[in-house]
């Protein structure tokens, strides 16, 4: 029989119970108070679903002749098909479906990885269209997922390729507008953060909810005119073919606004398949990125500067000796049939006389290419014509070119003489055409732009006003003189007249010698350029057009400026006159 316990059995049980409950309280204190932060973090990580909402990249539109907007660059949602090998159960079925639906987009070499359960992500196909993706989704295969991504599509193919640039796999704009406007085009990602249930469906409870909608990128309407751009590209291609050239560029600008209506470079590429381009140089926009010695198209700028400072007048004459000695250099005219004649400044431009523009520079120094002359000319080139600085056109990687300082100790005199006819200085086509527009439009330098405006939330075009940078490029009277002199070159020439048909068109060709990389001296293939404008019946300039042909082959006695570049200008100017309905 049992001894009577000092403590009864009920008391033992009670003590036992309280002891266990006390352990629970201590344990709960540990979990809920001491380790609270740890579990709170674990809970948040698990329960809170933070999702980045990707903004849609801005798109590009261009105007047609009638003003309707046509997409030039659009976004398309494509899908990446992936599988989680730890979740799939029928590898054979997945293989067959992907091969059948995705076809060429299927990454068949990854199919073997479906057996590898050490990974949870195997890409089965990329760039699958919405329709294909739906077929895959409808098959409802365990462990197979779709990931939406966006890619750029180009309804107009390679149109204005170097102007647009492209978007790389990381979604970053490369070259052209895409890179320059990358931030605006990208927009701002949104955030959707909420407490969710186990199926990741957001709940209404919880103080952690955040909902910031994505700010989509800006949609731009380009100043590019689809009709003119397409024509320019076609004419440029034909023009280059005629002279056996492969490289050439054309830019067309509204002289009264700074808007670029066409900008074309050849050879070109298809931005949709930019990754197939082997030579990255093709991505470069020659017009803004490749400075060159443009040759005689600079002569109007020299005459304009000399007239503007009052050193010469439109009708000033000089005695053409055919060649002049500047320091130890002999500068001659290409055409020697006007040697010994007294000629005025229009004739200097018409016959493209190097000695004439050197004379004009001498007049700026009171008869000598002294520091004053050089200083004044440099001032016009850099401050008035704004060479050697960015025009800030919306193309990334703009070059600024190079002009020798007027007080350089050695050879400044010779270099400055050469600069009067476009040798010995480096400028870009965009710098030249904008300065040219300013020099003939009365002296107003407009900010060159590729953007007509943006599209607002309602889908309406909000135009961007032309931006004036300076109004005193040349005095209005001198600007008018220069314009009329350039017009005379074409209107008094029976050959050019047949293209211009009495319309107000002016222009100047240029053929630049290049430095032969083999010898380091002038003697390489010449670069032909043409710089001109179209005006209305009152003579008011409307469009400036500049053409550059890098590697044309023309008959002996002819120049690439007149035989390769000028025909392209002739064609384009005639097209623009008709297309825009210019009056005469």
């Amino acid at each position: 029989m049992e001894e009577r316990p000092k403590i009864s059995r009920t008391q033992w049980l009670t003590f036992g119970l309280f002891f266990i409950l006390a352990i629970f309280v201590v344990r709960l204190f540990y979990i809920q108070i001491i380790e609270h932060d740890k579990y709170a973090v674990l809970a948040d990580q698990m329960q809170i679903n933070k999702r980045t909402i990707n903004p849609e990249r801005g798109e590009f539109f261009v105007r047609d002749k009638d003003g309707t907007l046509t997409p030039l660059v659009l976004n398309q949602t494509v899908y990446t098909v992936f599988a989680d090998p730890t979740q799939i159960n029928d590898i054979e079925k997945i293989r067959n479906l992907i091969q059948q639906v995705a076809g060429g987009q299927a990454i068949t070499k990854n199919f073997d990885k479906l057996n590898d359960t050490s990974t949870q992500y195997v890409v089965l196909a990329r760039q699958v269209t919405h329709t294909q993706a739906e077929q895959i989704r409808d098959a409802d295969l365990a462990g197979v997922g779709l990931q939406a991504t966006s890619r750029r599509v180009y309804p107009e193919g390679s149109l204005a390729a170097q102007t647009l640039g492209f978007v790389n796999v990381d979604g970053e704009g490369q070259y052209g507008l895409e890179q320059y406007l990358n931030q605006e085009l990208t927009g701002e990602p949104g955030v959707l953060q909420s407490v969710t249930d186990v199926r990741h469906i957001p709940l209404t409870i919880g103080a952690h909810d955040v909902s910031i909608p994505a700010k989509n990128g800006t949609d731009y309407v380009l100043s590019i005119d689809r009709g003119i751009q397409a024509n320019v590209e076609r004419v440029l291609a034909d023009g280059l073919a005629k002279v056996g050239a492969t490289k050439g560029s054309v830019v067309v600008m509204e002289t009264g606004t700074g808007r670029i209506v066409a900008m074309a470079n050849l050879p070109s590429y298809d931005p949709a398949s930019y990754n197939q381009v082997t030579d990255a140089a093709i991505f470069q926009n020659t017009i803004t990125m490749r400075p060159y010695e443009p040759g005689s198209v600079i002569k109007p700028f020299t005459i304009g500067a000399a007239m503007d400072v009052g050193s010469i007048g439109r009708y000033s004459t000089f005695h053409n000796t055919g060649c002049v000695m500047i320091a130890d250099a002999r500068i001659c005219n290409l055409s020697r049939q006007f040697d010994g004649q007294i000629l005025d400044m229009t004739e200097v431009l018409r016959y493209s006389l190097n000695t004439g523009v050197v004379w004009a520079l001498e007049q700026m120094g009171g008869g000598d290419i002294n520091l004053t002359a050089r200083q004044r000319f440099y001032d016009y080139l850099t401050e008035h014509y704004r060479f050697v600085q960015k025009t800030n056109i919306e193309i990334s990687g703009e070059a600024i070119g190079l002009i020798m300082q007027p007080d350089s100790p050695n050879g400044a005199k010779v270099t400055y003489s050469n600069m009067t006819f476009g040798q010995g200085l480096n400028v870009t086509m965009i710098q030249v055409i904008v300065a040219f527009a300013a020099a003939i439009n009365g002296g107003t330098y407009y900010q060159p732009t590729l953007i007509l405006g943006t599209i607002n939330k309602n889908g309406e075009l909000v135009e961007q006003k032309p931006k004036t940078i300076a109004t005193d490029i040349l005095k209005p009277e001198m600007s008018k003189n220069l314009k009329e002199m350039l017009r005379a070159i074409r209107s008094e020439n029976p050959y050019t007249l047949q293209f211009d048909r009495g319309y107000y068109v002016g222009g100047k060709s240029g053929t630049a010698e290049t430095i032969d990389p083999a010898t380091g001296k002038y003697g390489g293939p010449t670069i032909g350029s043409y710089l001109g404008f179209i005006g209305d019946e009152t003579g008011e300039p409307k469009y400036a057009i500049m053409v550059r042909v890098d590697d044309g082959h023309v008959a002996a006695g002819s120049t690439t400026g007149t035989a390769a570049a000028q025909p392209i200008f002739d064609e384009i100017s005639r097209f623009v006159i008709d297309y825009e309905g210019i009056t005469k």
Binding site: M1, E2, E3, R4, S8, R9, T10, W12, L13, T14, L17, F18, I20, L21, I23, F24, V25, R27, L28, F29, I31, Q32, I33, E35, H36, K38, Y39, A40, L42, A43, M46, Q47, V195, T196, D197, V198, R199, L203, I205, G206
Partner: protein, 428 residues
Amino acid sequence: MSEWISTNRHRDSSSSRLGATNTLKLGRKHRPDYLLVVLIVALALIGLVVLFSITPALTNGDDTATWHFMLRQGLFLVAGLIAFLIASRVPLNFWHQHGTKLFVLAFIACFALPIMGWLKIPPAYCTLGACRWYSLGSIGTFQPVEFLKFGTVICVAGFLAMRAAQHKLNSFKESLLPLALMVLAILLVIVVMQKDLGTGVALVAIVLTQLVIAGVKPKILTLAVLSLVVVGVLSILIAPHRLARIATFFGQGNEVADYHINQAMIALGSGGLTGRGLGQSIQAFGWLPEAIHDSIFAILGETLGFVGLCVIILIFAALLKQIITKVDFIENTYLRLIVAGVFGWLMAHVVMNIGAMTNLLPLTGITLPLVSFGGTSMLFIMASLGVVFAISRYTTHRKVELEKGDERANPMRGRWLGRPHYADRRDH
């Protein structure tokens, strides 16, 4: 088993101190212990409020479904209260006379279930290979093991009280062997056939508590516990799902097995000191399995925090203390053992549930009494508490002293000594 039942029916008049006519000799009736009711209702209401607060999570915010669910929960509580009321009104003699029949009925109900499940007879409702429920159509399901716990409490109390009166409590042949066979039979049906280890442990806890209170020798108790441990280990080794749970408990489980307990810990831990507040539970939205049943404690912790859980544990402590203390103030062995059984039952549930949720014990899938949502469990726990409530009418004023050499004091003797045994100051 049948041996002792027949013995019981034989009414061995020479040793019956419970009354030769199988009628309980009860003392003076006094006011019952209403504190029991207060504590029970407090727990049930806390459970109900938290359950209501997470109902939208369970019904995906569907208003009609939410309303229906809340109504159902409320009805279960009402049904539980009715069970409590009925049980507290049933004459204690009824249990004494029909306890064995109730047990046999419950045992058959449990035994038939897996067999019906294997034969695919409709009322048997099985999930994950375990047949533990009878499907009752739109009313819900009926879990006969809860009935069996009730039956076991009543029946074992009767058996041990009889043996104690016969001074054969520590007799191996007449007392312990039949009881061991009975427990083994129960475990066979519950643990092996129904694959429900948690309930098996609860049933063993009931019987053990009753053995302790009955006054079985410590040596025998130790032996009983040791043999149960052996049985327990064997039962774990033969069932893979239990091994997995044990592995989880020792940090060796895989992610799937760990999921439930990890989610419970996150619920508790993220609740912090004062909890997220009513209706702010996130774990209830599918993260934590069995949120309203076995895992309700973790949801309480997330909603009400450490402070709330301490209050709940305190109420449980008070309720259990209130129940076990009754034992010392009851002269009748049979009634003492009923109260002890109910105590063992509740304590096993509370300890196993909270222990599992706090990762101190392996997960066994057992409800938190009165708080968990579960019709059958609520019904029979309420009924058993109703019986305790009824017994609380017959407590003595002073602690009952057990005489040396006698497992039970003779209630008759005590009564005639004129002590105010049944008096209650509050009543008289």
